[in-house]
């Protein structure tokens, strides 16, 4: 039994102009208000129309319609016009270049109205045209043998659109993983030795500070292993899961030498 509820809802908006979704913008709404009350578009009672417009706007805000923004500017314009009508008219002899906002509004309304009418005429043309049926393409396939390749008009937009299409498609393709630029382990060892020469010991994690990539971390780790093998460093852990510290070692006789070291 949904009916009573619906009636109730309708009674709420009953004295309000219309269904909300009917309006495509503030000009549309204004035109509706003017038409509904059979007002003269050239002589709009601005106070009345402003009040109705604001009532409507209030309802829109209540319903949280996200199009309210477009309507607010018009509300400001209406209020501006209304306030002007309350002020004494400027001396007509003093012809200032500024257009009367009321006239400007009327002009916009007429303009808007004109294009609504144009849209209607276009729609009539569209209907007439859609009643004309064209030869289906399949018939020509029979004549020509094979379907011609679909073609598109060549203009700036189609060029841009084509490029966008290519980029989007490229984006969707799985990326070929190129091996990233690898730092050779030798280079990394030199870097780490330099780092350790500043301090005799440091935290294990600290040696990874300057690497961002996974492969950089792997290289650093391999370098450290190599340095341990070469007895260039010693690594200590205080306790299980404790912090690991790395110490630089003095060169030990008989240990394999690191070819990359320059100061030998």
């Amino acid at each position: 039994m949904a009916e009573p509820r619906q009636l109730e809802f309708e009674s709420i908006i009953g004295d309000l102009p219309v269904h909300l979704q009917n309006f495509d913008g503030p000009l549309d709404l204004l035109l509706h208000l003017i038409k509904k009350q059979e007002l003269d578009i050239y002589d709009i009672p601005i106070a009345l129309i402003t009040r109705q417009y604001l009532e409507y706007l209030e309802l829109m805000t209540e319903l949280n319609l996200d199009t309210v923004g477009d309507f607010l500017v018009m509300a400001a314009t209406l209020i501006h016009i209304k306030s002007r009508t309350l002020l004494p008219r400027p001396d007509p002899a003093q012809d200032d270049a500024e257009e009367d906002p009321r006239e400007a509004l009327i002009r916009r309304l007429l303009e808007h109205q004109k294009f609504k009418a144009a849209a209607e005429l276009l729609h009539e043309k569209e209907i007439a045209r859609s009643a004309q049926w064209q030869r289906p393409d399949t018939v020509v396939n029979d004549v020509v043998g094979s379907a011609p390749e679909p073609e598109v008009e060549v203009d700036l937009f189609s060029l841009m659109a084509a490029f966008r299409q290519v980029l989007e498609r490229a984006k969707q393709r799985p990326k070929v993983m190129l091996p990233p630029e690898q730092i050779p382990i030798e280079t990394r060892i030199t870097q780490l030795l330099e780092r350790l020469s500043e301090t005799d010991a440091c935290g294990f994690e600290d040696l990874f500070e300057d690497v961002q990539t996974r492969s950089g971390m792997v290289v650093t780790f391999l370098a450290l292993l190599e340095m341990i093998r070469l007895k260039l460093i010693r690594v200590f852990q205080q306790a299980s899961f404790g912090a690991i510290r790395v110490y630089k070692r003095a060169q030990v006789d008989g240990a394999p030498t690191f070819q990359g070291m320059t100061h030998e």
């Binding site: 578009i41 199009t67 007429l110 144009a118 049926w133 030869r135 020509v140």
Partner: protein
């Protein structure tokens, strides 16, 4: 020449889009223009006969289509029309572009009272409008114009074929008094905007 007329009929029939005079002249290069023109005139007359088909001029070319009056019968052949409807907002935006072209997005928004960026995207996707240049003002906004597909969809031969403002008074429900209907630079409906000097045409 009867054979030329037949060839032209076959070409118009087979072409997936309206065949322009230019295309015909290119295809029939050995024929003088006058011959082609008189053959078309004769063909047009042929199609005046009673029958299910008609020869129409659309998007600057010729096309053979069924007569409107048999629409309902033909429609039975198909389960549903494949052409998608345009929303009122799209149609109104299209009207502004059609009459005012070339026109920028802010100019359209000004006439319609709402931002129309989303609708423009739809119309571009449906190939009814296209970018025709950039306006030589701050920001160099794109200017939009209608396409050949637009003409085809609405059965117009060219853009001057658009319904005239005078035809609108009835729809408007009031007369446009002198002054308002005057082609003021900002309010004119007709096609004065085409090729204005502030524009930078793209082709």
């Amino acid at each position: 020449m009867s054979e030329l007329k037949s060839i032209i009929e076959a070409l118009i029939f087979a072409s997936p889009e309206p065949v322009t005079m230019k295309a015909l002249m290119k295809l029939l290069e050995s024929e003088p223009k006058e011959e082609i023109e008189s053959a078309i005139a004769a063909l047009k007359q042929d199609y005046e006969r009673p029958g299910g088909l008609q020869l129409v001029e659309v998007a600057g070319g010729y096309q053979i289509v069924t007569k409107q009056e048999f629409h309902e019968w033909v429609r039975r052949l198909f389960h549903e029309r494949t052409t998608q409807k345009l929303s009122v907002a799209a149609l109104e935006t299209l009207a502004v572009i059609a009459y005012r072209q070339p026109v920028t997005s802010p100019e359209i928004a000004d006439v319609r009272g709402v931002n129309t960026a989303g609708v423009l995207g739809t119309l571009v996707d449906r190939k009814l409008i296209k970018i025709v240049g950039r306006k030589a003002v701050v920001g160099r906004p794109f200017m939009y114009g209608t396409t050949r597909e637009f003409l085809e969809r609405f059965g117009l031969n060219d853009i001057t074929d658009l319904p005239k403002v005078e035809d609108m008074s009835e729809l408007l429900g009031f007369d446009l008094p002198a002054g308002v209907a005057e082609p003021a630079p900002q309010t004119a409906l007709p096609f004065d905007a085409l090729g204005g000097d502030e524009t930078e045409p793209i082709h």
